[in-house]
Symmetry: C2
Amino acid sequence: MPYTAPIADILFTLNHVAGLEAARRDGLFGDLGDDLVAAIAEEAGKFANGVIAPLNRVGDTHGTPFKDGVVTMPPGWKEAYRDWAAAGWNGLAAPTEWGGQGLPYALNAALIEIWSGASMAFGLGPLLTMSATELIAEHASPQLQATYLPKLVSGEWMGTMHLTEPQAGSDVGALRTKAVRADDGTYRLTGEKIFITFGEHDLTDNIIHVVLARLPDAPPGTKGLSVFIVPKVLVKPDGSLGERNDVRAQSIEHKLGIHASPTCTMVFGDKGGAVGYLVGEENNGIACMFTMMNRARLAIGLEGVAIGETATQHALAYARERRQGHAVGQPGHDAAPIVEHPDVKRMLLCMRALTNAARAICYSTAMAIDKARVARDAAARQAANARAALLTPVAKAFSTEVGSEVASLGIQVHGGMGFIEETGVAQFYRDARVAQIYEGTNGIQAIDLVTRKLPMAGGEALAAFLAELRRTVAAVCGSNDPAFGAAGVRLDEAAGSLERASAWLAAKLRDQPTMALAGATPYLRLFALASGGCMLAEEALAARRLGNGASAGAAGRVALARFFAETLAVEAPALERAIVDGAESVAAADAVLAA
Amino acid sequence: MPYTAPIADILFTLNHVAGLEAARRDGLFGDLGDDLVAAIAEEAGKFANGVIAPLNRVGDTHGTPFKDGVVTMPPGWKEAYRDWAAAGWNGLAAPTEWGGQGLPYALNAALIEIWSGASMAFGLGPLLTMSATELIAEHASPQLQATYLPKLVSGEWMGTMHLTEPQAGSDVGALRTKAVRADDGTYRLTGEKIFITFGEHDLTDNIIHVVLARLPDAPPGTKGLSVFIVPKVLVKPDGSLGERNDVRAQSIEHKLGIHASPTCTMVFGDKGGAVGYLVGEENNGIACMFTMMNRARLAIGLEGVAIGETATQHALAYARERRQGHAVGQPGHDAAPIVEHPDVKRMLLCMRALTNAARAICYSTAMAIDKARVARDAAARQAANARAALLTPVAKAFSTEVGSEVASLGIQVHGGMGFIEETGVAQFYRDARVAQIYEGTNGIQAIDLVTRKLPMAGGEALAAFLAELRRTVAAVCGSNDPAFGAAGVRLDEAAGSLERASAWLAAKLRDQPTMALAGATPYLRLFALASGGCMLAEEALAARRLGNGASAGAAGRVALARFFAETLAVEAPALERAIVDGAESVAAADAVLAA
């Protein structure tokens, strides 16, 4: 069965949990109407279902053959990309002055989920183009912007991000690619980059590499990094394409998943140096990177949501078709669809609950990114910016964990068929795995959450968020709706665990930072379970307010929120213990890991 | 880096947690000495490290090409298998009357871990041969035994198990392969089997298929199944090979992992019917299967332990080599080996703790299987049999989950390199996944635990096991060793959760079985965390008693037990809640899964 973009669910979460509807009503997005948002999502869904999804397995099986520096994309991919870009999808949230449509980033986030749900490898190229576009739009000179942005926004050219080198992975400050000043104000780059996604391909005539490099006289570490635009093909003053630049793909990786996304080793300066154009100021590269990092990380989180969604759809469809065994307590003696067996039902509910919770967290993060730009007053913009910063690592790490967990459950629902590649669900499991690694490993996200985001503004951003969770808990308890079961109590406990663990970590950060670091990963999970549980409850409360219409489905949303609270959020006290007690047990265990 | 069989750890768990040493001292295994056990394990380790492990990636990349009904094993595999069988490894635990060595099954379990740790696909073929051998040795006629057992025990022939059909997976009773009585007392089989591991290959001259089929006048369901020996090549009265039987491989599957294990669709009776020889009595097939099911399921659990072990070894080696970032609180400014970063340390400890706990559970199960046969009196044999029955689903399901979890953590420790196939750790992740599915999915194991094992003998088997856990908890608390941290308290809580959840499930089983079934999977995990935690604590207590010598490593074992209790077993109360509260939330969530 194919992927079907879950438009109704997407719009519901976008409008009623992330708050797009309220923001529109407040006039934060001009005259953007509900009907236009829905129409855009519907159209994106049609394109994803009809054009992209059928290419997903083709991409997986064909991969991207590499020969003599040339990467050939799988059959049908070039045409699909061309049509996708021609429909304007690439520039949905891009600035209008460069040909974009300036629509909310939250809407674009929903669309990133949709493209990735249809094919994670397909969605990944544009996702990097968007990152490169954002960076250039925020930091490059007007001349560079005029040269590159129109074609990056239209998708006529694609963009890449070049950070990693063999010795510089999580520690980006260790990179050594060299940039030397040339007489004409440009730079010459030499060095090697690895793991460069879509570093080379034949989808577009030109590829705009955004490259982190180091000037000869730069200070060590991250403070000595500069950002350069290094086009694959040099652009003449009239905008037409000139000669090939001195940068080439040396090889591509043979990977566990996302086979249709070429991961390249890139070599700069074989012939003396690749021409690079400085973005922003020298040695200010890491700051430029940071401005786009929230969006890029969130986008990877959305890949996790996307895989979760498609894996859930496939598993549910299979479980409704496949008959095996008699269901206890059901009449008759025929074999039942396996969806009726409680253990299978539990797996499917778990898949749906995790996916929807991750979606709610991601869309809320996206909305905060929007509000940081468009909210009415500076205080609101600042609060939104802090909210985005706080939620981004959670959105990235939790959602990508969810992607893998849900893909694994999807295999399990399929039984033996799940292990057979032709079924297609094993691909989700393989594809999903990388999202926990790239754009900052999930461990790095957890450390970012604990060491940078938790103490942000004296803990104010966190406190404001916790207060919101408390309001949700109170609303669930106050609803007196028996359909919520023990959800209110469980979410209350989860919020309590999160508060206590936060306070403990904040204290440890000051005097015993290694103890705080040992708890970073369980803390991020705790944060996500408490937040995700409350957001699903918010969704359920909204559905109850709106009535049990087709688009709201209050009964289902209340049941899902309850399931999450009673079977998943219950892990919160355990995580609190793992953080608080576990820190010492990690410190005490050197003998276990000694050679 | 290659796999290195962890002989010291294996022997320690075997002797001091599973209880092989005490059983030997009790004379249950004749004059089997400690030195012989150790020597056998050492030799097995050498063979696994030196011969099998180097073939693991070869097997993954070459796979097993299929052409005109012939499967060609990967380069080097035939020679390795020949040498392995020639060294007598196949018959280690097989009856001496058929050429086996009659050694403890627990020792063979350790060796199954070792073969699978070197290469899961390599270990899998012999594992099925052993299952077929056991079944024939217990149920077949003396004549069939004399014909088949000597060559199955020596490994000159390999065996297979044929259960699954397209419509009969978890529901084996739905199978339709037909067996018709022939005039000469043999049978003719027609039908199709799928997912037949090592159904066809070129490692041996003959393959002995053990096939579940149904007689024309058999009752429906599992009560109408019979077991047949169907050799690939018919055996002449003098024992030499005759004509090909009417059974063939029609195709092989393209799978997520274990690429060197050919998974075949087998067709019986193209030319009128494959010759089959009845094992045991007609319509008694499922009982024959049950006698070997504990061992086969345990063997799959051992695959999980094996993958956990090799993934942990690879990750730890990488984490000691790879330098990235400065470790907080460490002197100097150089990049530290990532093993020094607390978040990486936590991942590695988690890998080690889960792997060792799964090993302890599996070996304890194996020892119970031995004691069910060799214990001095009938009561002890019966108790051991009940213990084996109780622990088997936990050993199978928990250990295979651990295999996948640990393999995933291993990828994460490797960062981007983990996603590259050449690194080798992605293969562990792919290979491990199937073990949660075959030989009874983990959901089926959980249902078996709750519906059959929990109420066994009026709950006596469970009660006896819980009492042992309580004794361990008391010993940890009584040790007054501060190095245990809060382990005693946490294990006490875990045991309490297990007791309460068990009682709740037992009650529900009687009046609301669907409620019990909904909690089966979390219950199995709870059972495993409480048991695994206590067994690691037993291991630590034993190491303390034995002193901190090289083989005991008391400090490390105490630290590991503490880590498990304080960061993993703490999940127990959450699982109790998921079982008790979650049951209703699963039942209430039909609206979520409605089409």
